[in-house]
Symmetry: C2
Subunit: 442 residues, 2 copies
């Protein structure tokens, strides 16, 4: 029996990786993308420039067999570099010394995955904007170069992002639960170029954060020795994008709240008024499948970027779907239902964690109590690694289900509250009874 023809909507990171998994299984895979081929063009359009690749994403790439040369484009970040208002910096490690998240270029990674997918036998059609998905007959309608075109297949997978066209067709069917929820904050990217001698202008081994309470700036390194900064700021209100409506106000704002960025962002005002301000959305929906169609990645569970897990979760989707196909093929109904049922509690969990982490990044990281806690947690984890693992480590440096990480994180969090009641911050570390603390977990 010839294997099914699978149509994938979206040649972004998740669609491209999925096409590798499926092509390697012997399916006929066709991927449709509204944008031009990124290998022939420069424009990425409205998406972040770099991303943090961590264990979940790496495992998925490994399982797909696509890790060759990857380390040449990854820049490991071993912790957060906190920039205080007085321009002092201090470093907070993410985990143990050998643990890091990796700054990767969205564009380079995407091009690499498309190349690997073609090598595995998948075919790509760019500049195909999907207009409509007929889920009853598994037919997709596109406009391409102004002309309508239809493609039919056996299976449709929507990896077409937060504004998925496949999901829009689900929305019009009965009993489809859906939520889109915007943060009051938007974001704007700004570039710190390489220095005069082609060197990094700030430390490339960290993710830089300027935490300022209600808003923040972050920066991730790029392999061309530049950094991409992202300013997260409310759309409206006192300190907001709306309020920063003149070059003077932008200059004053940066000199007041991010003074140490002025020497390294030369054309700040130009960038600020040229670069777009984008919104931040969380998408939740269910079911993820109807008939022979399935939503995947951001199309079913877009999250805010504050845990660096959007791409990692999408890649994990691909790995898990691949495993379920191994177990249940050719029963696609079972494949889809097993996938959505087992995966949904975990993407709900990472959505919540990503949201919570915004407050941690923009506010708590600057707090002495938070730093004290983080150090204590690291000590507990070192002594009782099976009992206590920092939440960040469970999410970032493990592949345990996100919902289990959230659950365990909540348990640890309430013990931590108890610790703070019992031990003042002045307590010398060796005076804290770690065994007793770990006992409170039960």
């Amino acid at each position: 029996m010839a294997k099914e023809k699978i149509l994938i909507l979206g040649a972004g990171l998740v669609g491209s990786l999925l096409s590798i998994f499926l092509a390697k299984k012997g399916f006929k895979v066709e991927v449709f993308e509204k944008r031009p081929d990124p290998r022939k063009n420069d424009v990425l359009g409205g998406r972040s420039i770099n991303l943090a690749l961590s264990d979940r994403g790496l495992l998925a790439l490994e399982k797909a067999g696509v890790t060759r040369n990857l380390d040449q484009v990854m820049l490991p970040m071993h912790g957060r570099m906190i920039h205080q208002l007085d321009s002092q910096v201090h470093f907070q490690p993410y985990g143990k010394a050998n643990q890091a998240i990796n700054s990767v270029s969205r564009g380079l990674l995407n091009e690499y995955l498309i190349g690997e997918a073609e090598a595995a036998g998948a075919s790509f059609r760019f500049e195909h904007k999907c207009e409509r998905a007929d889920i009853d007959n598994s037919v997709l309608s596109f406009s391409t170069g102004g002309k309508p075109k239809e493609y039919g297949g056996d299976i449709i997978i929507g990896a077409d992002g937060a504004y998925s066209v496949l999901r829009a067709s689900f929305l019009h069917s009965d009993r489809f639960n859906f939520m889109q929820d915007y943060l009051p904050h938007g974001y704007k990217e700004l570039n710190i170029p390489a220095g005069k001698n082609g060197e990094f202008q700030i430390d490339p081994n960290a993710l830089h954060i300027w935490p300022r309470g209600k808003f923040m700036l972050i920066a991730l390194p790029n392999i061309d020795k530049s950094f991409t900064c992202t300013l997260f700021l409310p759309f409206e209100g006192e300190s907001s994008f709306e309020a920063l409506d003149s070059p003077e106000k932008v200059a004053t704002f940066f000199s007041e709240v991010f003074p140490d960025t002025l020497p390294v962002i030369p054309n700040l005002i130009d960038q600020f008024f040229t670069n777009p301000t984008s919104s931040l959305v969380t998408i939740r929906c269910y079911p993820w499948s109807k008939k022979r169609s399935l939503l995947l990645g951001d199309a079913s569970h877009a999250i805010v970027p504050f845990f660096g897990q959007g791409m990692n979760a999408g890649f994990e989707d691909c790995r898990l779907l691949d495993e379920i196909i191994d177990a249940e093929y050719p029963n696609w109904e079972t494949v889809f239902q097993t996938f959505e049922k087992s995966r949904k509690p975990n993407t709900d969990a990472i959505a919540k964690l990503a949201n919570d982490n915004f407050i941690e990044m923009r506010d708590k990281v600057a707090d002495a109590g938070f730093i004290w806690q983080k150090k204590l947690e690291a000590r507990i984890h070192e002594k009782y690694p099976d009992k206590w693992t920092p939440l960040y480590t469970m999410v970032t440096f493990s592949n345990m289900p996100y919902s289990k990480a959230l659950e365990q994180g909540n348990r640890q969090e309430s013990v931590m509250r108890k610790i703070r009641e019992v031990y003042p911050m002045s307590t010398p570390p060796e005076a804290i009874d770690l065994e007793k603390i770990v006992g409170w977990l039960d």
Copy 2:
């Protein structure tokens, strides 16, 4: 200055009442409805046949000046008539002896309101299906009799229900928060006709409930002496619409769980397989306005029917909007923003209350502890009317903001839990220290 032209989408209950308020203010009001004129047709299509009109709805009708002859089509229901599995019934009053909710026919009330709106100067265009709303230019596109047609206005109000076309156009704009959430239960209407001598076959002064834990049947009286029953049942699972797939199974199911309905529903099997099974959705969104367009009623906050507040909340929307126009006209931006900002917490509250009340209706009402509590609450309320008001009374027999009712209800609920710990159900009523209980509220 000539007053603005206001286009209203939807000539259902809310759209019709709103058109009365606005026409009476002197606006040029045009109402568009996809269905035919209900006064010339019989079909209502997929909506419940009767509804419970209570204080909030009545106050709005009063303020609009449209209560004439209303009492001739209202059937007061003074409480719940609980039908046990053994066919015994017992009555639970909703409030005091003079308090009742009113069963009204959706069709008759709608026709009455359309007539009053026309009398007030509003014009109606039926069989106009809105295809698209251009909120930038306040233009609506319709198909009518197969032909496209456009209408422009100064203000657009979407009172076009849970599947609002105006809201769909909001959905494609940036930063519009939206949620649609379906219950796992569906509903099916069944008719208990009048008896042989044209009499009610069961007590017309109550809302009848057959609470069965995971599902329930209810019945509301109609002025033709029939009752409309609604079966609320999970779509899938052990006891479900899916499982009831043969006449035998339906007959067995009803004889087992609703035995006393068999004598009064003569053609049960026919009705069961002829009448549609509908779904139950909660809609939440924000903002409710963009430029000169506003969503109202189910279009912005559809809720499940278990508190009998869907229509009442929509009517209250109209009354509140009318008051805000009085205060802020002609500043429509302020009108819309004042309305959405003040109203949203209240519609969120009634959405939650409606959801919670499903469990109360289908399960708790049959419980001895629940009945004991209700009686105790009535006694506390009688003695301390300013301190304690049963939640049902605050929602149904008052016009206090829903969010305040929810808040006060939560406070009373936690005191009630404390009462249940202190006083066993065997406690004679006079041995319960009401003053002490009321003190626990603080």
